[in-house]
């Protein structure tokens, strides 16, 4: 029965100037992902549709889109989970480019501002030793290591960035992913750039803009919690201000 039903799909078409939704009818299949739907449209219905993906297994972070108004990794989002149940049994899907990033074309956004903010948040490891130094010993069970561990599985998909209302209202805000990255490095005993990092994350677009509304953590496909990471950064910036940081 699933085999015959049709998924009514609207896909946003356009570029930086503007655009609109275009309707497609896609055959509904078992275990179909949202990325499968987009691929079907591009391969069978309209080869001019622009979209981005690479790994199809939730590793590369390139396939994120707005699906029925919510940012998701499309390669691992099953249609059955998001399409609702409208007449005809096939369901309905609305697919749009990620929020909060400039559109290049159709479903492809420009990720440059997102990655620029990783750099601006001092999301770069600054070694405190040369490569000739002996291997640093980090206790796996130490609190700092546990805090870093909680944040390192980020795939740079920008789902959190698209979910964040502060990013939407303030283009300078570094955003959840960059700040989460900075937090993992704040907890890296081997890093030698902590003072610069604390400065960077307490700058004008820094962690104090966050309203802790938790949309980033709500939608992160890897179940990371940038809200908690940013709260950690806020604590560290307060400590730094009071001179309690070494």
């Amino acid at each position: 029965m699933l085999e015959q039903s049709i998924l009514a799909t609207s896909v946003w078409r356009g570029d930086a100037e503007g655009g609109e939704f275009q309707r497609f009818e896609v055959p509904r299949r078992d275990s179909q992902t949202v990325l499968d739907v987009v691929t079907h449209i591009q391969q069978e219905l309209d080869p001019s549709l622009a979209y981005r993906f690479a790994c199809r297994v939730g590793m590369c972070g390139s396939c994120a889109m707005m699906v029925n108004g919510v940012p998701r990794w499309t390669c691992r989002t099953h249609v059955s989970k998001v399409s609702g149940n409208v007449s005809g049994g096939g369901g309905e899907l609305q697919i749009a480019p990620l929020r909060n990033l400039p559109v290049i074309r159709d479903l492809v956004v420009d990720m440059a501002p997102f990655f620029d903010k990783w750099t601006a948040a001092e999301g770069v490891f600054r070694p405190s030793e040369t490569r000739a130094a002996p291997m640093a010993k980090v206790q796996p069970g130490s609190p700092a290591r546990a805090a870093a561990n909680a944040g390192i599985e980020c795939i740079n998909c920008a789902v959190c960035y698209a979910a964040c209302d502060v990013v939407a209202g303030n283009t300078d805000y570094l955003g959840p992913a960059a700040l989460n990255r900075a937090w993992t490095l704040v907890n890296d005993a081997r890093d030698g750039g902590q003072a610069e990092r604390i400065d960077a994350v307490s700058s004008e677009g820094g962690c104090h803009n966050c309203h802790s509304m938790g949309s980033c953590a709500q939608f992160c496909p890897n179940a990371l919690n940038p809200t908690a990471a940013i709260a950690g950064l806020k604590r560290e910036t307060v400590k730094a201000k009071l001179g309690w940081r070494r």
């Binding site: 029925n68 108004g69 919510v70 940012p71 929020r99 698209a162 979910a163 209302d165 309203h211 802790s212 509304m213 938790g214 949309s215 709500q218 939608f219 919690n225 809200t227 908690a228 709260a231 950690g232 806020k234 604590r235 307060v238």
Partner: protein, 113 residues
């Protein structure tokens, strides 16, 4: 309508904190005005206080106490979130803030009636 990416408990907690803060800020001038009546126009104040005996006004006061309490408890949650070690129970804490505020304002209403 509330957009889909906002439909989760902590976003509603955020909204409630903002709206209650805004409502309280708008209420403050009225509050100060009435306080000032005690000095400038005592009989006017007496008239106003008689008017506040009306049950409908009591109900509005219940709302006001709720806003104050929910902003207070919600603010405590945010302070703890930002200054104490992270607690993963944020949704429960936010729900607790609303429940606590409801409790306080209900006690107020029952006392007032």
């Amino acid at each position: 309508m509330i957009r889909p990416h906002r439909r989760h408990p902590l976003w509603f907690a955020y909204l409630l904190h903002r709206v209650s803060g805004l409502a309280l800020a708008l209420f403050l001038p009225i509050h100060f005005y009435v306080l000032a009546l005690a000095l400038t126009d005592p009989s006017g104040l007496d008239g106003f206080l008689r008017w506040t005996e009306h049950p409908l006004v009591k109900l509005v006061e219940f709302g006001l106490v709720f806003l104050l309490a929910v902003h207070f408890f919600g603010g405590l949650r945010l302070l703890a979130l930002e200054l104490l070690p992270w607690s993963p129970r944020q949704k429960s804490l936010a729900a607790g803030a609303v429940a606590g505020a409801f409790g306080v304002s209900t006690v107020f209403l029952l006392n007032a009636l």
